[in-house]
Amino acid sequence: MSKIIVVTSGKGGVGKTTTSAAISAGLAKRGQKTVVIDFDVGLRNLDLIMGCERRVVFDFINVIQGDAKLKQALIKDKRLENLAVLPTSQTRDKDALTREGVEKVLNELREEFDYIICDSPAGIEKGAQLAMYFADEAIVVTNPEVSSVRDSDRVLGLLNSRTRRAEQAGMEPVKAHALLTRYDTARVARGEMLTVEDVLEILAIPLLGIIPESPAVLRASNVGTPIVLDEPSKAGTAYEEAVARLMGEQVELRIATNERPGLFQRLFKRSA
């Protein structure tokens, strides 16, 4: 049975798209047939982070409107054979999405894929609501700061009320996981950021993982490689562990310290 997982947060810039790319690549790496869909119509980013921006011909909106077949719009990843990307339109806006259209595409994808990752846009408007509507599970991406946590709390409220699982009687509610990103142990120690405990106390949902703040994330994004496929980094490892937990494995939770360039690296001044 395939699973639809929405990656959402409410607030922008917390790492939804990075997480969508890393989680979907991580699942595909573990042999799961995975597709990742960009719901951020008009602000297309996922294709850049996945490194397939030059291969986009048809998109999600074309499929919804019947201008193209799903097979034509899906982009097979060149690194992982189990991974596909469904990019969105850069020229349209969120009104181009319809609930019926989204449902039709998702049903079609369910037949082929084990995991369908929906990369939600920021905010709580139509795009975000449609991204979460059909979800079975949710990854709520949160930064350790108050505005992000409050927005995540708001999104959790929507997941409990504005989704198909919430509206249809007899269905289990959407299973939500918290993913703490851009976690900076040094700043937490100085009291500049919320601690893991603070965040979880407010959100009251299970923690999927803690991704340390890392320059490797930006570097990977810029070269169009999901962080788990890039050279080993603490953030990449943290994402791989989060993927394992998502698949139901018991992996001990560790808080990785930040990556500071070591002496060796500083001497050789490795550039991104």
Binding site: R150, D153, R154, L156, G157, L158, N160, S161, E201, I202
Partner: protein, 303 residues
Amino acid sequence: MLLSPCSLNEAGESLPNVASGNGRDGPRDRCRIGKLQYPGARRRLRVKSSESSSPGVTDQKITSRSVTTVRPYQLRGRFLTAIALRLEGAADRRMLAELDSQLRQTPQFFADAPLVIDLEHAGAEVVPEDLATLVEHLRYRQVSVFAIQGGSREQKAAAATLGLISIPVGGDTAAKATDLKDAPAAVAAQGSTVPANRLITTPVRSGQTIMAEKGDLTVVGSVGSGAELIAAGSIHVYGQLRGRASAGVFGDETARIFCQNLDAELLSIAGLYRTSESLDSGARKRSVQVFLQGDRLCVEAFG
């Protein structure tokens, strides 16, 4: 000491606390209180200052909780489910035999079960002697018969001699008000009110509004910042309250807000409110109750 109340007045200033002074323990302070107060009643008390050096007697408003906590007992409401044995004719030998056979069929169900004899439909056929026989019979069978309901004045008198109490019948108490003249008012009122309370067992998230239009609102879980609780009655939060809570929104000044961990943005009872800025930091992150005292919103911490 069970409680160390920190009552606040409108200006956020702490009121003198009866049970805290010069390292004295609770019971010794209690001796200094001129008048004892019963729970629920808030009125002015004449209290001797807890400072032993000051001979003057000051007239201070204190909360009832600070006085009542030192009592060695508590009064609590208690509901229980009992079996009602409804008699629809004479309690004769035949009826006792049938009852016996039923008791034998399900002995564990009746063993020590509290039982009420319902005489509502029995009429005058159940004479006091029959009632005595029935009660004896039931007690012999280990059924804890403790009360009758309904019945004539004569039957009630007979029940009283057998050590049974007479309890009023739920729905029709009003119709039989004359019959119940002697019954305590509190018992008579019970049963006729329909509870319209609301219970939420999931965390209340930012942006959600939960309303209990007719009764109390109980939340088991935390209330996020930016969430809103509204109730006609009281509000109870078993978790952290970070959002807004408005109790007694239709003007009920006896409504209260209880929460396990206070970090609220706004608290209001019957229209009187405090924002988080005017909350005393001593009450923050603690278990508190919020109530109206006159036109003052008091926040009092427990424990």
